[in-house]
């Protein structure tokens, strides 16, 4: 499988992955999260698990089960951790724990290295067997200004992990000896990111009746208030006074996000009456469709107010598109202001930068090219696999801070 990435990913990363896998061969690597569809974590695991298996690692992926009440609690937890004022009761915390307890009875939690992704399955560490492998909490969300009661509740589990990984430095808690920083990544050969022919792009856009005769502004994200879809429409309306263009807002539902439907309705109501706004609620795993939309777009936005990392930025940049993004979460790591895109802090700022791109095709092309190389060197799945294996290797065998491999 690694062969598929030759000529795409940096060769150095592939060499080191092979070397680390040969040293960790036949050892087990378990990942647990809360959904198989929707969101960047599931997307990466879909590829990472078979990739590692093909290199001799016994990699597994388990998903915890929960009912609507559980996912409603975890969604609220997610919002509270990202700074929203959400009220929690002891019963809610207790139910979160109990669902994890039930999952722990059903799941095989034994592995040499266990990665628990995000808060939903974090209590599983309570059911770790004595003498089992290393347990690591992989947090993908923005914890920079968390709600204290929810954070305190999760910290009781957090302390039981051997180490943790955060996507960017500002999310780290400063409570453990090993809090690693590993940005997430995109898969360049997946349906969502592979090259498409012009015919494929046209066919897919025709399916959604999206015209190709005018510049397209696009935002791909869940229908979530933190992604500011209404703000995107407001920016588009400013641009529309100067440039004829269309706006596409595309997202997919996620099983662990019960608020999506409500936000979608708000956005539809706000956009009502404008035939040039296309709001697409795509089925889960509409990867080819998202790929085609990103390739057809003239300008891509990720106008998040809060963001875990915002991988849609890297997806867009990989397709040679410059991105205008909110300076939230991991977006500033991907958008180097003025080089690979623009960071914006307001609706007016977003509108101004959209107009700049629409009126300067050469600048748009140049920034797009730089963005693609930035992603190649920093945000491809091979770099993330390299980092995970490096951390695992270090926790098992490392001494000192410099390791010769």
């Amino acid at each position: 499988m690694i062969e598929l990435y030759r000529g795409i990913a940096p060769e150095g990363d592939l060499v080191i992955i092979e070397r680390l896998c040969s040293r960790l061969r036949d050892r087990s690597f378990l990942h647990i999260n809360s959904t198989r569809a929707g969101g960047g974590v599931a997307e990466i695991l879909h590829r990472m698990i078979p990739f590692l298996q093909s290199l001799g690692i016994k990699a597994r992926w388990e998903v915890i089960k929960g009912d609507d009440r559980f996912f409603d609690i975890t969604k609220k937890m997610h919002n509270a951790l990202q700074g929203n004022d959400v009220r929690f009761t002891d019963e809610m915390f207790q139910y979160h724990y109990e669902v994890n307890q039930r999952n722990a009875r059903e799941l095989d939690l034994e592995a040499d290295m266990v990665f628990i992704h995000d808060p939903q399955p974090s209590p599983l560490v309570e059911f770790r067997k004595k003498g089992s492998g290393k347990w690591l909490w992989r947090c993908h969300i923005d914890l920079s200004v968390p709600s204290k009661p929810v954070c305190d509740y999760l910290m009781r589990y957090y302390k039981k992990y051997d180490a943790s990984i955060f996507s960017i430095s500002k999310f780290a808690r400063g409570l453990k000896r090993f809090e690693f920083i590993v940005p997430p990544s995109i898969d360049p050969i997946s349906e969502k990111n592979r090259d498409l022919t012009e015919e494929e792009i046209e066919r897919i856009l025709q399916n959604y009746n999206i015209p190709l005769d005018r510049p397209m502004i696009l935002q791909v994200s869940r229908f979530d208030r933190f992604k500011d879809p209404v703000g995107v429409i407001k920016a588009y309306r400013i641009v529309k006074n100067y440039n004829d263009c269309i706006l596409v807002l595309a997202g997919s539902p996620a099983t662990d996000d019960p608020e999506g439907e409500e936000v979608l309705k708000e956005v539809q109501a706000y956009a009502e009456g404008d035939p040039d706004i296309y709001i697409l609620m795509l089925p889960p795993n509409s990867n080819l469709e998202i790929n085609a939309l990103q390739r057809a777009a003239t300008v891509i936005l990720q106008k998040s107010i809060k963001e875990g990392f915002g991988l849609t930025v890297s997806e867009a940049m990989w397709k040679g598109k410059p991105v205008i993004g909110g300076a939230a979460g991991g977006i500033p790591l991907q958008i180097i202001h003025g080089i690979t895109g623009f960071l914006v802090y307001s609706i007016e700022g977003a509108a101004f930068r959209i107009r700049q791109f629409l009126n300067n095709p050469e600048m748009t092309r140049r920034m797009g090219e730089r963005g693609r190389e930035h992603v190649r060197n920093n945000f491809l799945i091979t770099r993330q696999i390299r980092d995970y294996l490096s951390i695992w290797y270090y926790l098992e065998f490392g001494e000192g801070r410099i390791l010769e491999l």
Binding site: G12, S144, S169, K170, G174, F180, V182, D387
Partner: protein, 220 residues
Amino acid sequence: MAEINNCFEFKRAYTVLISTGRSAASIREMLDVLKEVSAGSVFHHTYQYFMKAHHLSYTNDFAQWAGESLEERALSERLSSIDPFEFSSIEELRKKIVQTIEEFLEEFPTPRRVFPGDEFYFNETLSFVYPVGIRVTNLNEFFHALKTVDGQCIYYHFYEARTRLEHSMDDFSMWIEHGLGEKALAEEIRNIDLFMHTTEGIRNRLIGIIQERLLEGGLS
């Protein structure tokens, strides 16, 4: 130039970040943390700045933060002028950075705080070093390898080597002098101002200098 048995093996370094859990929202806070944070963290935010593909208008993370987040341009310029490779130890470098900030605070004693979210986060790194599978035995092979190895290789041999070796010199010129006996060429390489280049800039400079030597000596 005689072919020699000594070979040069290209290695590459990459890092994984580790949070120290320390951050600063003002220059005073930065000063306090800088005085006690690990040497590894000072190393990361200064020497390892040169690993970054996009060399911005600064030469270390402290200067970049002072310029971009604090918007203290004068301080940023002063911090950017500190060449880490002039110091014999991390502690000497730390002293210089601390002294620069203290002098700034004497002139401007009430600096502003950054906006929430723009704090400086102190990190350290785990460094992984490995051979990339390219060995060369003469200047011509070295010249061709230099064109293809990635930027991390150049960083490791040209920048980080100076912190690794007692003589504060880069691996390339050491090998060219002692392995190939090309003292003059080695001196020319040492005269490159590494502080003024990105890794790609260094690559181009090296290629230019070595190509000239190969042509002049009929060695290509």
